[in-house]
């Protein structure tokens, strides 16, 4: 059986998740190992959530925010965009594979486009292989039966 990566998508429900619903409704073949976390605004996604997903073993993390034009809290998002770019660079700096964490700050898109985004991202993560860096693992322990 071929390996399927576990993907976590943090997604703004105002601008991007309309796409998710459509994607789900249209019976798309969005792989079942994609977990979508809806947040009211992309600026609510904290570095903790991203790192926590990484620590819990997600092979790929996609942060999907909407465009700045039609965002109801644009300013917030700009700040977070600035911060996330730094986080992405920092993770790459310490040796986490580029592409493991991906930010997509594009304009609101119909379901198909988000689906395509997720599918493309999944393919890219597949090429990277399973995540091992910054993934918390408990060493097996021999126990008293």
């Amino acid at each position: 059986m071929s390996w399927e990566p576990g993907i976590v998508v943090f997604c703004c429900s105002e601008c991007r998740c309309t796409g998710v619903e459509e994607a789900a409704g249209s019976n798309c073949k969005a792989p079942c190992n994609v977990r979508i976390v809806r947040v009211p605004c992309a600026s609510l996604i904290s570095e903790y959530m991203i790192m926590s997903a990484l620590r819990s073993g997600a092979d790929g993390i996609l942060v999907a925010g909407g465009s700045f034009d039609d965002c109801h809290s644009a300013g917030e998002k700009v700040g977070d965009h600035r911060r996330f770019v730094l986080l992405e660079n920092l993770l790459e700096f310490i040796g986490v594979e580029p592409g493991r964490v991906h930010l997509s700050w594009e304009s609101a898109s119909p379901g198909d486009q988000l689906r395509v985004l997720i599918e493309n991202f999944t393919e890219e993560v597949k090429a990277l292989g399973p995540a091992s860096k910054l993934v918390k693992q408990l060493e097996p322990v021999q126990v008293v039966e």
Binding site: S56, G57, K136, Q137, L138, V141, Q142, V143, V144, E145
Partner: protein, 350 residues
Amino acid sequence: MQTWMISPVELDGLIQQWQKSYAVYVPALSKPATAATDCAPGWRRINAGEPWTLPVGPTPASVKSFYFPQPEILMTFHLEENHPDKGVMREPLKSHEMQVVLGVRPCDAASVLLNQLPFTEDPLFMAKCQRTALVGFTCTTRLSTCFCTEMGGSPHHCAGLDLALSPLQNGFLLEVLSEKGETLVAGCKLVPASESDLAVLADRRQGQGATSSYSSQLEVLKACALSRLYDAPMWQELGEACINCGACTFICPTCFCFDMQDEVVQGQGRRIRYWDSCMFPLYSQHTSGHNPRGKKLQRTRNRFLHKLKYFPDRFGPFSCVGCGRCIGDCPVNIDIREVLNDLVRRTELE
């Protein structure tokens, strides 16, 4: 108790012999090349013939983590839906194999005895005491941060050790101090120490023993009412400078506070006991949200009063062996020797 004379070559042979049956650990002096360590931080396991050096003065890391691992796994469990063992807590299998810690200084050996006082009923701690043999080297150099003699110890003491090695001109005097020590030298052909060598050792111990200030300071602080020490104005300045990091408590051989927690990763869980520090606000935080030691000053005061007042009141000796690690590593140069002197001076001001 027997004392033998052993040459450096013979000592190497002895160590190689231990390595056939036991894990032998020595102080690690540099950073490991990778994060993977199979033993206590600051120590490394050596294989037969591998070179090692003993640093001057106390080893970088104390032996605490051999007895009190960071973290210690108490229980394991599974939360996966279909796991046959779901919800059952299981105890990890304990090793009873002997491990040899080589290069222990007298201050650290004394710390193990001190830690046994509060942990005497702790099966995990005591089990590790059973299986750990300490092979120590008495000190010939006293660093400027060393103050074991002020804490009732001595650079030449061997209490707490299983084997003690005292360097002489042409080798080491090897003292066998316990049953574990006997096991380690069993079957070895050793030369008994000569009268003159024994005289040198006795002379050293005579010359540099515990200073008289130890027992007098201990008694003075024990006799003093706690409130008098508690309200001393010195805490204001100390508490203000202290940044409340846990460096002193974690490098201290006699700090033993811990917390427990369940850690779950993808359905697999374990209950761990890990080091805590009285310097952290969370240490004394109540479930209600109230924190009886919510201020920096209170936490700093607690650390020193615990070592110099609460612990002696309950168990007898100071909870400090004078290794001086905290003095050297404190980011803001809080010096426990000064704190002790200030406290004693406070009792004298009537």
